[in-house]
């Protein structure tokens, strides 16, 4: 998902492009991408948390933002889910409401699962196998941002074409008597276990209407339930007393009150003064320095997210149709400078894949110089001259989010330095990605980023897969069509064994970077900032998919 800098923003069109990918497990070999083990900490108590904006939806079929998912994971559980843990453990898909991991047919097209016995929703109703089909129907019928993920299920497209909400999806065969669920796919999809673990596939009762239920979210199976929902103002997460599903976290706090406080400066001040126990967004930029100095590792910590920030360089449009021109950009950008534009909340890097992702292998030495070293501008200038592109005009695209705008202005300045005539073009944020994803725009270069939908390298590499290129809503903004990368991804994306293909993804990552297909420069950091009441040491788990894990939070 693309993430805006005001909050998490996923654009539904983005998801269509992700469909042709494979999925599997994940790993973590970085020191800073997870929190403590969170084994201790007392139970009970109530806390107040602050969000800058209300989640997009409080309906699992529709929500597609970090704020939404962070909350929904505590209320709803899909058939498959993730461990409530940091790092590689948290990125591993495990059975949720299903007894075991799916039994996958040899051709990879049939998934068989069975519901755990005795499952009940928070309102006391029994969970039935047919609820899964209803949940998927809601995702498809409501034209959710996640609907494209489930169109590989046999009959899903016909269901959509028929336009009848209550019609069956032929590829889903539930058996309420035995709790068995059989899912037939139109083609093998190695990512499908991850797709089943997305909040979209959370089970809701079969009588849940085919409309947005944010005002009165449906009952779920999870450690918390919604209460006191006030649209655009806040809601409460109240612990479900009798929630008891094997291997699933039960939650430590009795109540988590979520309040919308639009002013981040006020949020920060309230957290410092212990009026707010946790703020979801990073502190305001002008308060960050003091927060870091006073509270790091006591009440404040930064975590590297599974995200990637890069400049796309359009391979189909001059001057970046020339490899030397793209190499020049990679030599010229100063990643130390770019980190400053994020107020230090960017981990400079050389790889396209983020450090917490399976398949990540640190590219060292980086072909363009160490991320923490000064750029080689002289070499960049020489490459521009040798490419014969010097003096050409370049428009650098960015959107009106503060950091994106600054990043576009920075690249334009760098391009001017190395011999181009560049100027930034700032596009309104809500239409930015559709603008640069439209072939008619012919964007030469610009800002791009990606936050994972699920912890699988294919969820990043599709951004540079030649197969992803399309005329509109293109996510491969630079029209990268590198035969070597395409061949690797063709093979790796169909293999459900992520461990077997991790090296292949690492090779694709290295190829994309070393052949200057894009100019990748780092990975976004997010923050945790608590009040004094919170038990920072024992109860902070930074989950690789859902960020701060609410079920582990506790007070001192």
């Amino acid at each position: 998902m693309q993430r805006s800098l005001r909050g998490v923003l996923c654009l539904s069109f983005a998801c269509a492009a992700t469909l042709g990918l494979a999925a599997c497990g994940s790993d973590d070999d970085t020191a800073d991408s997870g929190g403590s083990a969170a084994n201790g900490g007392k139970t009970g108590g109530s806390i107040r948390t602050a969000y800058t904006s209300f989640p997009d939806f409080l309906d699992p079929a529709l929500s597609y933002t970090q704020e939404g998912w962070q909350t929904l994971w505590t209320v709803y559980t899909p058939l498959l889910t993730y461990n409530h843990a940091a790092g590689a453990e948290g990125a591993t898909v495990v059975p949720g409401l299903a007894e075991e991991m799916p039994d996958i047919s040899d051709d990879g097209k049939v998934y068989k699962l069975k519901l755990r016995e005795g499952l009940k929703y928070s309102d006391g109703k029994a969970v039935k196998a047919s609820d899964f089909e209803h949940s998927i129907k809601r995702v498809l019928n409501l034209e959710s941002g996640g609907s494209s993920f489930y169109q590989s299920i046999a009959g899903a497209e016909n269901y959509l074409k028929a336009g009848k909400a209550r019609a069956d999806i032929s590829g889903i065969v539930p058996d309420d008597a035995t709790g068995e669920i059989t899912i037939n796919l139109t083609k093998p999809d190695g990512r499908f276990p991850y797709i089943l673990a997305m909040p979209f596939a959370s089970l809701v009762p079969a009588d849940t209407p085919f409309e947005n239920q944010t005002k009165s979210p449906p009952a779920g199976v999870g450690p918390y339930e919604f209460a006191n929902v006030r649209i655009n103002r806040g809601y409460d997460l109240v612990k479900v007393a009798d929630f008891n599903v094997a291997d699933q976290a039960t939650g430590k706090l009795d109540t988590i009150k979520v309040e919308v406080i639009k002013n981040r400066r006020r949020q920060t001040q309230d957290t410092i003064q212990n009026k707010i126990d946790y703020m979801n967004d990073p502190p305001a930029p002008d308060q960050l320095r003091d927060i870091r100095a006073q509270y790091t590792d006591k009440r404040y910590k930064e975590f590297v997210t599974n995200s990637t920030y890069y400049y796309f360089l359009n391979h189909n449009v001059a001057p970046f149709d020339k490899p030397e021109a793209r190499q020049a950009v990679n030599y010229a950008i100063d990643k130390r400078s770019l980190a400053r534009l994020f107020g230090g909340l960017l981990e400079p890097g050389c790889n396209f894949l983020p450090p917490g992702m399976k398949g990540y292998a640190k590219i060292d030495p980086c072909p363009w110089g160490a991320p923490t070293a000064a750029p080689d501008v002289a070499k960049a200038k020489a490459l521009v001259q040798s490419s014969g592109t010097a003096g050409q005009s370049v428009t650098v695209f960015g959107n009106d989010e503060p950091e994106s705008k600054s990043l576009a202005e920075y690249l334009a300045d760098v391009l001017n330095d190395i011999g181009y005539k560049a100027k930034p073009r700032i596009v309104e944020g809500s239409v930015y990605f559709t603008t640069i994803g439209n072939a008619k725009t012919k964007p030469q270069a610009g800002f791009a980023n990606w936050f994972q939908d699920f912890p699988h390298p294919g969820n990043f590499m599709f951004l540079v897969d030649g197969k992803s290129i399309q005329a509109t809503n293109n996510q491969n903004f630079g029209n990268v069509n590198n035969p070597k990368v395409n061949a690797i991804l063709d093979e790796a994306n169909t293999n459900a064994d992520i461990d077997a293909v991790a090296d292949d993804y690492a090779e694709a990552d290295k190829t994309v970077v070393s052949e200057a297909d894009v100019a990748a420069y780092g990975h976004r950091k997010l923050t945790v900032f608590y009040s004094e009441r919170m038990n920072f040491e024992d109860c902070t788990v930074w989950h690789p998919v859902y960020n701060l894990d609410f079920t582990n939070l506790c007070v001192r």
Partner: protein, 345 residues
């Protein structure tokens, strides 16, 4: 008698009949000379008029200061260092906090979040803000006088169409209308027949501000023309066979000159303020160009750690608008001491 004539008569000193001065020749002063004389007596207006000229001169000198500072308005110095009082300091810290004013050649007024020299951007921003302010005011004056004169002179259907169109324009809050147009045109630019303006051009906010301001001038001009067209000198012109175009240009326009002159500085000030507001909201001057509005927008997120980012352009904006308003008031008092001209929102 025209308004100008009435002003002349009100300024003549009565001479006692048969007195010692009865036979002395009286020096006649034109209304313009009288206005200049009154303006020269208004020290405050002159001082602020001079201040405005200084600001314009500073804006024109922007490239000179850029040379002295060794930078350009769009040059990023994110990872650079600068020596201040013998200490080497980062232009932008790792936390993203830019350097405060150094009061020396480089980064005299500090840096912004991209490590750009604020003083250089301020002066280049002044060029943009003043260019847009003055040009937009000229567009407003041109269109406002034209529409107001046509509506007032022809009355009837012409008046109805123009006045109702102005009513529609008046119905929109100026800022919202400006933002809506600015955002819409910032992406694809403006294409009106042979007139093609690219999205990032500063002509976009200039035209928007110029057009949305028309209503402020067209209405009072129309009112004045409605009154003037009934005067004897217009009837005399008609009797001599003068057509509408000639009457408007030769008879009406000279009598509207003082009103236009009084309005113009106020229109410039208003346009500069509107440009700053539009740029602050991202619908005015587009990157990499700077303006005081974009500089304010850039600084707002670092208000407590880097107040210079907002104080410096804010101060320039205040000084410019204040100087134009006080000078404009002085011009108004000089041309027609009884008039109370204000731009009303």
């Amino acid at each position: 008698m025209s308004i100008a004539d009435s002003q002349v008569s009100s300024e003549l000193t009565p001479v006692a009949e048969g007195g010692p001065l009865a036979t002395a020749p009286v020096a006649g002063l034109s209304p313009w000379a009288l206005a200049v004389r009154r303006l020269r007596r208004n020290r405050a207006a002159l001082a602020f008029g001079a201040l405005f000229i200084v600001l314009v001169a500073l804006a024109l000198a922007a490239p000179l200061w850029a040379d002295v500072a060794g930078s350009t308005p769009s040059k990023n110095h994110l990872s650079d260092t600068v020596v201040v009082d013998g200490r080497t300091e980062q232009v932008v810290t790792f936390d993203g906090v830019p350097i405060a004013p150094t009061w020396q050649r480089k980064f005299f007024l500090g840096a912004d979040t991209n490590g750009r020299d604020v003083a250089v951007r301020l002066l280049y921003g002044a060029r943009n803000s003043l260019f847009i302010g003055i040009t937009a005011a000229l567009i407003t004056a041109l269109l406002g006088v034209l529409l107001g004169t046509l509506a007032g002179y022809f009355r009837g259907w012409t008046d109805a169409i123009i006045s109702r169109s102005l009513d529609v324009l008046w119905a929109f809050p100026v800022l919202l209308l400006g933002v809506a147009l600015g955002v819409a045109l910032a992406t694809d630019g403006l294409k009106l027949g042979p007139l093609v303006i690219s999205g990032g051009s500063k002509w976009i906010p200039t035209i928007i501000i110029g057009v949305v301001g028309v209503v402020y001038l067209a209405r009072p001009i129309r009112g004045q023309v409605l009154s003037l067209r009934e005067k004897e000198f217009i009837e005399a012109a008609r009797a001599q066979g003068a057509g509408p175009i000639r009457i408007m240009f030769s008879e009406l326009l000279p009598n509207l000159a003082s009103t236009i002159l009084v309005f113009f500085p106020l229109l410039v000030a208003n346009s500069i303020l509107l440009e700053a507001a539009l740029s602050f909201l991202g619908a005015g001057v587009q990157a990499p160009e700077s303006s005081w509005g974009t500089m304010l927008e850039n600084g707002i997120t670092l208000l407590s750690t880097s107040p210079h980012l907002t104080i410096v352009p804010g101060l320039m904006l205040v000084l410019t608008v204040l100087s134009l308003n006080i000078f404009g008031d002085g011009v108004r008092d000089a041309l027609d001491p009884r008039a109370k001209v204000r731009l009303e929102h």
